[in-house]
């Protein structure tokens, strides 16, 4: 027969466990202890409050432009909770809850978004790469780490994140394909918030889901309610177990929504309607998970108040520490720009360093230069 059908597994699963009204599907509910559930909630709330505080600092001119995480807590935290400390995490830039959970401090984010390289220094014993700004590029690093695990015969996995916009980049395709060909133990989590700055999903792709692209790479793909932390956790956990037992990569798509602008420099009113925003606000991840915990008797109003106060003080302390740190000499001195480029500084660069050090000495003592806020990003 010259012409026939090739059978492909084209069915893509969709998973939702805890809906926006906090109704739970008990058959699908993961078996997590009360402590585990409370930990998940704690980091989701910590990230939300940190995000809000960072925004406040940005508005006060104490922070630069930054991309907020609010609305994405379930995808980040649900996925990060499915791996162990020995596994690796390769983030993009909206994975605040998962990174805090993995051991990054709030200070790191306050430094990074305030223009200090020290914010990207991965804490000791944390197997994460730092925030990655160039879209989709980090996915290949994740695959490389996964291939390394195969080469060394280690049973760890890599969890990596990308957005819906990133799914259009060539690097995304290359990463998925490499992971598939080399059976790398990588779980790709797409944080699909339906907009790449202003460009809607319909301009990003004409396929129904991002998850279905998995078919083309012969790997399992699943779309989950990205505002349902339980669904994200369950789907990621399955993918992690499969990867750990030699089953190769998985593509998990979490459908969610940015509750904020892309960054503090953009105005979403230009490209999203208020109706749409309100609809997705009603589906946001924290409220339903809080009600779930309340129904389970794990959290009451008083506990919540206490938790809020505790997190607030944690954030304030981080702020105080950060503000002290950036005033200290070792963080202020720009001579450090030369010090971490190579293991040993080459002579040509040493000359430039010496030249700069003399200049810095002569200048900064006279008057502390202010960083001029010139024109540019549209804050006007």
């Amino acid at each position: 027969m010259p012409r026939k059908f090739i059978e492909l597994s084209e069915k893509i699963e969709y998973l939702s466990i805890l809906d926006e009204n906090a109704k739970v599907d008990e058959a699908l509910e993961p078996k997590l202890s009360g402590e585990q559930l409370k930990t998940i909630y704690r980091y989701m709330l910590l990230a939300r409050r940190t995000d809000e505080r960072l925004l406040l600092m940005q508005r006060q001119g104490r922070l630069g432009t930054f991309p907020q995480s609010s609305g994405h807590e379930a995808v980040s935290m649900g996925a990060a909770f499915a791996i162990t400390a020995d596994d690796w995490q390769v983030p993009a830039y909206r994975e605040l809850p998962g990174m805090l959970y993995r051991g990054w401090s709030i200070d790191h984010f306050m430094l990074y978004w305030n223009g200090f390289e020290e914010g990207a220094r991965v804490p000791d014993n944390v197997k994460d790469l730092p925030i990655c700004v160039p879209i989709a590029t980090q996915l290949l690093h994740a695959v490389g780490i996964g291939m390394g695990m195969n080469i060394r015969g280690e049973k760890n996995v890599v969890l990596t994140f990308f957005g819906d916009g990133a799914s259009s980049e060539g690097d995304c395709h290359e990463a998925l394909n490499f992971a598939s060909v080399f059976s790398a133990p990588v779980v790709f989590v797409c944080l699909n918030n339906q907009y790449a700055i202003s460009v809607p999903l319909s301009r990003q792709m004409h396929s129904e889901t991002i998850a279905q692209r998995a078919v083309g790479y012969a790997m399992p793909g699943i779309r989950v309610d990205g505002n349902d932390v339980l669904a994200v956790y369950v789907a990621t956990k399955e993918a992690v177990e499969r990867a750990r037992s030699g089953g190769g990569p998985t593509l998990v798509e979490g459908l969610t929504y940015r509750l904020t602008p892309h960054t503090t420099a953009d105005d979403p009113k230009r490209y999203r309607s208020d109706e749409e925003y309100q609809l997705w606000l009603s589906r946001e991840p924290l409220k339903r998970f809080r009600r779930y915990l309340e129904k389970k008797g794990l959290l009451n109003d008083k506990d919540h108040e206490r938790l809020e106060a505790e997190l607030d003080s944690e954030i304030k302390q981080a702020m105080e520490r950060t503000e002290a740190q950036i005033k200290a000499e070792d963080l202020k001195n720009p001579t450090s720009m030369f010090d971490h480029l190579y293991k040993d500084i080459p002579p040509t660069l040493q000359n430039q360093r010496d030249e700069f050090a003399r200049y810095w000495e002569s200048r900064h003592k006279a008057s502390d230069k202010q960083n001029p806020q010139k024109s540019g990003a549209r804050t006007d």
Binding site: G64, T65, F66, Y112, W113, N114, G115, F116, E117, A120, V133, P134, I135, G165, A166, S168, E169, G170, D171, A196, I197, S198, V199, R203, Q204, M205, A265, D266, R270, Y271, I326, P334, S336, M337, F338, L341, T348, L349, Q352, F356, Y359, W360, R363, K369, N371, P372, Q373, K374, S375, G376, A377, R378, D380
Partner: protein, 326 residues
């Protein structure tokens, strides 16, 4: 004449070019309803529609690669890469194809396209949003690289770039977008690509720069005039490839002293090419070694320290004094 800033002047050029030539097509991300992250494409989507102002999926290589196809097909694509820090994704398409089609096909197929991108530091942007890597493009045979320094020359040069028969990289100094206003004439004007401009005549020293670095260079010139009583000549390169060696050489022949200024890293930066050209042509006219004031050979530091990386008037004045007192 109308007073406007550079962002507005570039926007005006895009409006004019699209209105007068329906082959001009815009491609980029967030250039449509959002009107660009720096608002450079304001009003274009509303006026010319989504067939000519195309918000693409997020893929820089695809933007440039498809623009090459369009250009070969007979259109004149003007691409916006949102930040120059992300044009490495598409460098491959420019180096291997845009820059080579004319040569490979012995002139049969050509690529008249423009890649616009905001470059440079000074706006407290986050990581990867402050680079000046124009030298990479100047080092790529087959490309032209144009870098305006003010509203009026930006508008005129963008017209020239769009009308050019070959691929042009048009780097926009983002720190200058809204820094100052200038009179821009009502009627459309062009400026020839490949020509530098002596923006101020002088006898003692030539300060040579382009793009964003023109501002501190002008400041330094004022300081040298006031405090050192020096007669300063200023050369604005405007095009860094092909380089207008004649204008540079004539200036240095007259002054015998020069300082070259740019934001990009020093090693293999534009200043190295300018100095080599001076040495090749007027070495014996020099009264002092030519100095470079540039970015250092490090990634642009995050914004808390970027002002220490960027050449400023103080560094330029210090270099000029060493040259004057040599």
């Amino acid at each position: 004449m109308t007073e406007m800033n550079m962002a507005k002047a570039i926007n005006l050029a895009l409006h004019e070019a699209m209105a007068r030539d329906d082959r001009v097509i815009m491609l980029g991300v967030d250039i449509g309803p959002d009107e660009g992250v720096f608002r450079i494409t304001e009003g274009l989507f509303a006026r010319f529609g989504d067939k000519r102002v195309i918000d693409t999926p997020l893929a820089e290589s695809a933007i440039i690669g498809t623009a090459i196809g369009m250009a070969i097909y007979g259109l004149k694509p003007v691409c916006e890469i949102q930040f120059a820090g992300f044009d490495y994704y598409n460098y491959h398409q420019l180096e291997c194809h845009a820059a080579r089609f004319r040569n490979r096909t012995r002139g049969r197929l050509t690529v008249p396209m423009v890649m616009r991108a905001p470059y440079g530091g000074g706006i407290r942007a986050l990581e990867h949003h402050s680079e000046s890597r124009e030298a990479i493009y100047a080092h790529t045979p087959g490309l032209k690289v144009v870098i305006p320094s003010g509203p009026r020359n930006a508008r005129a040069l963008l017209h020239s770039a769009i009308q050019d028969p070959d691929p042009v990289i048009f780097y926009e100094p983002k720190a200058v977008y809204r820094l100052f206003k200038e009179d821009v004439p009502q009627e459309m004007e062009t400026l020839p690509i490949g020509h530098a401009r002596v923006t101020q005549e002088g006898k003692d020293i030539s300060l040579i720069s382009y793009g964003a670095s023109m501002r501190p260079t002008l400041e330094a010139a004022e300081c040298l005039q006031d405090e050192d009583d020096a007669s300063v000549e200023i050369v604005d390169l405007l095009t860094i490839s092909p380089l207008d060696i004649e204008t540079v050489v004539n200036s240095v022949k007259k002054t015998g002293r020069a300082v070259v200024v740019h934001e990009g890293p020093r090693t293999c930066g534009l200043a190295a090419e300018v100095v080599a050209s001076i040495n090749e042509n007027v070495l014996l006219n020099l009264e002092a070694p030519v100095k470079r004031v540039t970015g250092y050979d490090v990634p642009v530091p995050y914004f808390s320290k970027e002002q220490w990386y960027l050449p400023d008037a103080d560094r330029i004045v210090a270099a000029a004094r060493e040259t004057l007192n040599f």
